[in-house]
């Protein structure tokens, strides 16, 4: 069977800068950052005080009590994003009894909000029993399972945990399942909810979180800012989308992955370059037609200069023509969910021919001397766009999107 083409027909997000795609995209094109003091944890006990929390979230507006009993906050965010993506797409996930539909979710840490509750119940409050649904709430596959149950999806349903590349691996796997004919459609993305005391203290200890804000590619950048949220793409074959007259938002054309096999936290430029090249080769993407890269762009000194170096090596002289921005400057680093949210931003960028900005940018860095779209979005015709993810553990995943031009 020849490779089938795969298109995105729906997007969903819930983040600090919007509870749906419209709000999210509107804030992105206005360069509006969602970073500020976090409230879920007593910040006087932590050395950094800022994060990108989903504010004004009322779970009862989305779910009844029975559903909420089953789902940790991270699973709720994944299901909210999936519902939005399916609604926009109009796809029937349960066609063929749901057997040809996949759900692949990324998460780095799973249901840690529920896990934290069991710890505090036992160790702090000296209770002798915990919530009876602590296990189904905490298990990292619960987001994928709840999406599967909600939509009647009975095909391949699984979870990928590759730290900050989880969602790109999830979307890339779904893309390959559809392209190869194993599935006809998929919901793929991810979610994360890292605002717990133990988790924030763990990030404090490893010394990569900024005390001010996230300033990717800026010389005075201090590090990353944690964010929470979820993102999801509704994906299907081009044939299926056209047969039902769906609106096509973008085409997914390539996926590349690699492992550094070097250091557990320090990224290796060779591995990053290899993942980018593999995504280009997989999608038969002419490098000279890549107009935008949604960067991994964490805002750490080490990542950002490494990433710009990798882009320069892969694209050569064309690197000067590629616009590279980090939307983490606005929605924060959502860890296992971050590349799903960034995939939504990338789809919207290609759809609208608008470059998302790198917010909070202050000082040019000679090591990051490409067009990083400082602070203000702008129009640019985007033919192809990449979305990079380079995770702790040295795991890299890159997606290639193509603007949908009607054929």
């Amino acid at each position: 069977m020849p490779d089938r083409r795969v298109v995105v027909t729906g997007t969903g997000v819930i983040t600090a800068i919007g509870h749906n795609t419209d709000q999210f995209w509107n804030n992105i094109i206005n360069g509006q950052s969602g970073i500020g003091p976090y409230e879920a944890v007593d910040s006087t006990l932590v050395r950094f005080q800022n994060g990108a929390e989903v504010k004004g979230y009322d779970p009862t507006a989305y779910f009844d009590q029975k559903e909420l009993d089953l789902m940790d906050r991270f699973a709720q965010f994944a299901l909210i994003a999936a519902k939005e993506a399916v609604k926009q797409s109009g796809m029937d996930c349960a066609i063929d009894n749901g057997t040809k539909t996949a759900v692949i979710c990324g998460t780095s840490i799973g249901g840690v909000v529920s896990q934290e509750k069991t710890y505090t119940d036992l160790y702090r409050d000296n209770k002798t029993r915990v919530h009876p649904l602590s296990i189904p709430r905490t298990m990292p596959n619960s987001a994928a399972s709840n999406i599967s149950m909600h939509f009647g999806i009975t095909g391949p349903v699984y979870t990928i945990s590759t730290a900050c590349a989880s969602s790109n691996h999830a979307i890339g796997n779904a893309f390959w399942l559809i392209r190869s004919g194993i599935c006809d459609r998929a919901l793929a993305g991810g979610s994360e909810t890292p605002f717990t005391y133990t988790f924030l203290k763990s990030w404090e200890a490893i010394r990569v979180v900024a005390h001010d804000t996230c300033r990717p590619f800026s010389k005075n950048r201090q590090g990353m800012i944690l964010g929470e949220g979820g993102g999801m793409l509704a994906m299907e074959t081009l044939e299926s989308a056209q047969a039902r007259g769906a609106t096509i938002l973008a085409e997914i054309v390539g996926f590349g992955m690699s492992s550094d096999a070097s250091h557990i936290t320090k990224p290796d430029q060779v591995g990053a370059e290899r993942a980018i090249r593999l995504a280009l080769e997989d999608g038969k993407v002419p490098p000279g037609e890549v107009d935008y890269i949604n960067a991994h762009g964490t805002g750490t000194q080490v990542n950002d200069s490494m990433e710009i170096g990798a882009i320069k090596n892969v694209f050569g002289a064309h690197a000067q023509q590629v616009s590279v921005s980090s939307t983490k400057s606005m929605h924060g680093h959502i860890l296992g969910g971050t590349s799903a949210v960034e995939a939504v931003a990338t789809v919207m960028a290609t759809l609208n021919n608008i470059l998302p900005p790198t917010a909070n940018y202050q000082e040019p860095d000679p090591e990051c001397d490409l067009d990083i779209v400082p602070n203000v979005s702008r129009s640019k015709k985007i033919r192809y766009a990449l979305s990079n993810s380079f995770a702790f553990g040295g795991l890299n995943a890159v997606l290639a999107f193509k603007k949908w031009e009607g054929s």
């Binding site: 200890a205 990569v208 320090k266």
Partner: protein, 79 residues
């Protein structure tokens, strides 16, 4: 220069990181001792615990030698 701060960090480098004691001098860089940024983060965390101080990330990122770490810790201790 506090010899106590140096002695404690040298002891940690020798006992926890397995570096030969005679190699650890005040002007050794972490790199020449075979220690990377995560090792430095661990060592400084231990020193913070011992001396009950906080070293800011921005200071820690500049610690390339034992002397810089000792001076940074000494500054925090004297505050």
């Amino acid at each position: 220069m506090s010899s106590e701060v140096f002695d404690r960090i040298k002891d940690l480098i020798v006992t926890k990181k397995g570096v030969d004691a005679e190699k650890v001098n005040i002007d050794s860089s972490f790199e020449e001792l075979g220690l990377d940024s995560l090792d430095a983060v661990e060592l400084v965390a231990d020193m913070e615990e011992i001396f009950n101080v906080n070293i800011p990330n921005t200071d820690l990122q500049n610690f390339k030698t034992i002397r810089q770490a000792v001076e940074g810790l000494q500054k925090a201790i004297s505050l």
